[in-house]
């Protein structure tokens, strides 16, 4: 018994508090489950609480849902799954590479180069759009390429001013997450529409939404994976370097396999974010690649008070993540996520 264990009555007070919180946490989920098994009549008649005791369970909602009588659930579920898994895989992979680079290699970016990027992008876009009379999308692409080229070029020559190191770059990545997503989502919608006018359809496509989600998830992936890589023993890699193993083989053959638990946890956290994400999907999809949160939110206005169907629909969105929560809590027990928050 450690010094920290509760003794005497305070132990029971803590237990009572936890039980109240447990009831508050679980009751809504319990309610959704039992409502999805109620018959339409059973819902309208007023609240009932215990199956078989005060109402007779029925499978109406589920059979309607699974037979497809209630809109395209299968298509949406599959779209959500494909986008969720591929965006999380891509974000975990790209983010892990960046995080590894930021832990092991030295980066120096001159502040002035970053300023040049912003100014050229800004000015180039305005110039192309308003002075040269180019289309929005064309001027965007030109401005982007020019800004990138000038920023890279300028970092090669000696420039005065402060130099940003690895920590600053990480901070820059993570701070993306602080921005209200509405800023990006709305502008991204406009940009995608412009691209669509040029023949690259991005609104309501797999590519468009997946890349938006990858960009949206990268900050958190880099944040989590950086701490994970920093905790790995560097000696293994040094030994491999002595043997002249190329860096890319060290990364793929040694570092990635060693950090499998971290990668899995990061992948699952990203998947949960993407799966539940609402705003980007609301702006960037309309029918074909609609995700589950949008469909579930739509149930509300379409169905009115058909709570049995709505509950079943909500549960379809909930259950995959609850299964994941089980796996995640197992990983947490092994202390995996502890390092990630310091």
């Amino acid at each position: 018994m450690s010094i920290r264990d509760l003794k005497g009555p305070s132990r029971w007070w803590a237990l009572a508090g936890c039980l109240i919180w447990l009831a508050f946490t679980l009751f809504p989920l319990y309610w959704a489950v039992i409502t999805s098994f109620k018959s339409p009549l059973g819902v309208v008649g007023g609240p009932t609480y215990i199956p078989f005791v005060d109402f007779e369970p029925s499978l109406t909602a589920w059979s309607e849902l699974l037979s497809g009588a209630r809109g395209q659930f299968y298509a949406t579920f599959i779209a959500s799954t494909i986008i969720g898994i591929s965006a999380s895989l891509l974000a975990t992979f790209i983010g892990a590479m960046a995080a590894y680079a930021l832990v092991r290699f030295t980066f120096e970016v001159k502040l002035l180069s970053a300023v040049i990027f912003v100014f050229v992008a800004f000015g180039g876009f305005l110039l192309g759009r308003h002075v040269l009379g180019l289309g929005q999308a064309i001027s965007l692409i030109y401005a982007f390429v020019a800004a990138l080229a000038l920023a890279i070029g300028s970092s090669r020559i000696r420039l005065p001013g402060p130099v940003l190191g690895n920590d600053d770059i990480v901070f820059w990545f993570v701070s993306q997450r602080m921005f209200p997503p509405i800023v990006t989502a709305f502008a991204l919608y406009l940009m995608y529409t412009e691209m669509g006018k040029m023949g690259f359809k991005l609104v309501d496509t797999y590519t468009g939404l997946t890349f938006a989600y990858v960009a949206f998830s990268l900050p958190i992936v880099i944040w989590l994976m950086r701490d994970f890589f920093a905790a790995l023993p560097v000696e293994v890699e040094e030994a491999a370097m002595v043997d002249n193993v190329p860096t890319w083989r060290i990364f793929f053959g040694i570092v990635l396999p060693m950090s499998k638990p971290g990668l899995i946890a990061t992948f699952m956290i990203t998947l949960a974010f993407v799966w539940n994400e609402f705003l980007f999907a609301l702006f960037l999809t309309n029918s074909k690649w609609q995700t589950l949160p949008i469909l579930v939110a739509g149930q509300n206005s379409q169905r009115g008070d058909e709570w049995w169907a709505i509950s079943a629909a909500a549960l379809v969105a909930i259950i995959p993540m609850v299964v994941m929560a089980g796996i995640l809590s197992r990983l947490m027990r092994s202390g995996l996520l502890l390092g990630a928050i310091k």
């Binding site: 920290r4 803590a14 990027f117 305005l126 509405i182 995640l328 502890l338």
Partner: protein, 291 residues
Amino acid sequence: MTRQDPIKHFFIWPALLIVLAISIFPLIYSLTTSFMSLRLVPPVPPRFVGFGNYTELLQNPRFWHVTWTTTIIAVTSVTLQYVIGFSVALALNRRVPGEGLFRVSFLLPMLVAPVAVALIARQLLNPTMGPLNEVMTFFGFPNLPFLTQTSWAIGAIIAVEVWQWTPFVILMLLAGLQTLPDDVYEAAALENASPWQQFRGITFPMMLPISAAVVFIRLIESYKIIDTVFVMTGGGPGISTETLTLFAYQEGFKKFNLGYTSALSFLFLLVITVIGLVYLAVLKPYLEKHR
């Protein structure tokens, strides 16, 4: 520690390019749009208006109302989340009986889609078919219009936020509590320090840095709330529960007033940045004192 190797560019550029193209570039694009008068419905040719959109917004009482509503929701729900989350984390850290079961189930809400939570909340709060009002009636209280009266609707949104995000606070604070050293508490027990003294003198100060980080993350995230409100009240009754993101959505997607919406989203960014800076400035002396 770190080393030079040209291959580093190969590692970092994919991430950098995606973030530049999909996060930073839209920002630049919408910043330019925010200085223009641009409408899709009815189509108006773009015209440079300088700070016109911004002044128009700052004079719009709806903007201030929406900012105020969002602030109330964010501050109240984060305060509740922190207080409840800290208490639960303390109990779990002290190995309350049944701790293993609590740990697993307490995390559940965090992973549930906010739209699904909002739909379930609508059922629970339904005036005629929901269980909450039946319980109220049973105990002799009047039936309450939870989602159709302003103060109750805001309360309901806060309750849903607390339900969903307290688990995050529990998770982070529990991880922090587990790193605290035992010997300090042993010394305190020898000095006969009461549990409250131990909490005030040891636990709380030592947890201050992580608490600051958790509250910061939650506060910033709460300001972005849209999905819960979108489903639960749709901003109603009237605009009384409308939040900043929902307001921007209505302006941008229902009215297609592009310049105005871009200006709104930048003001929003400004509001969040100011809140973040004020928060850090207020907290800094405390954090340094306990370092």
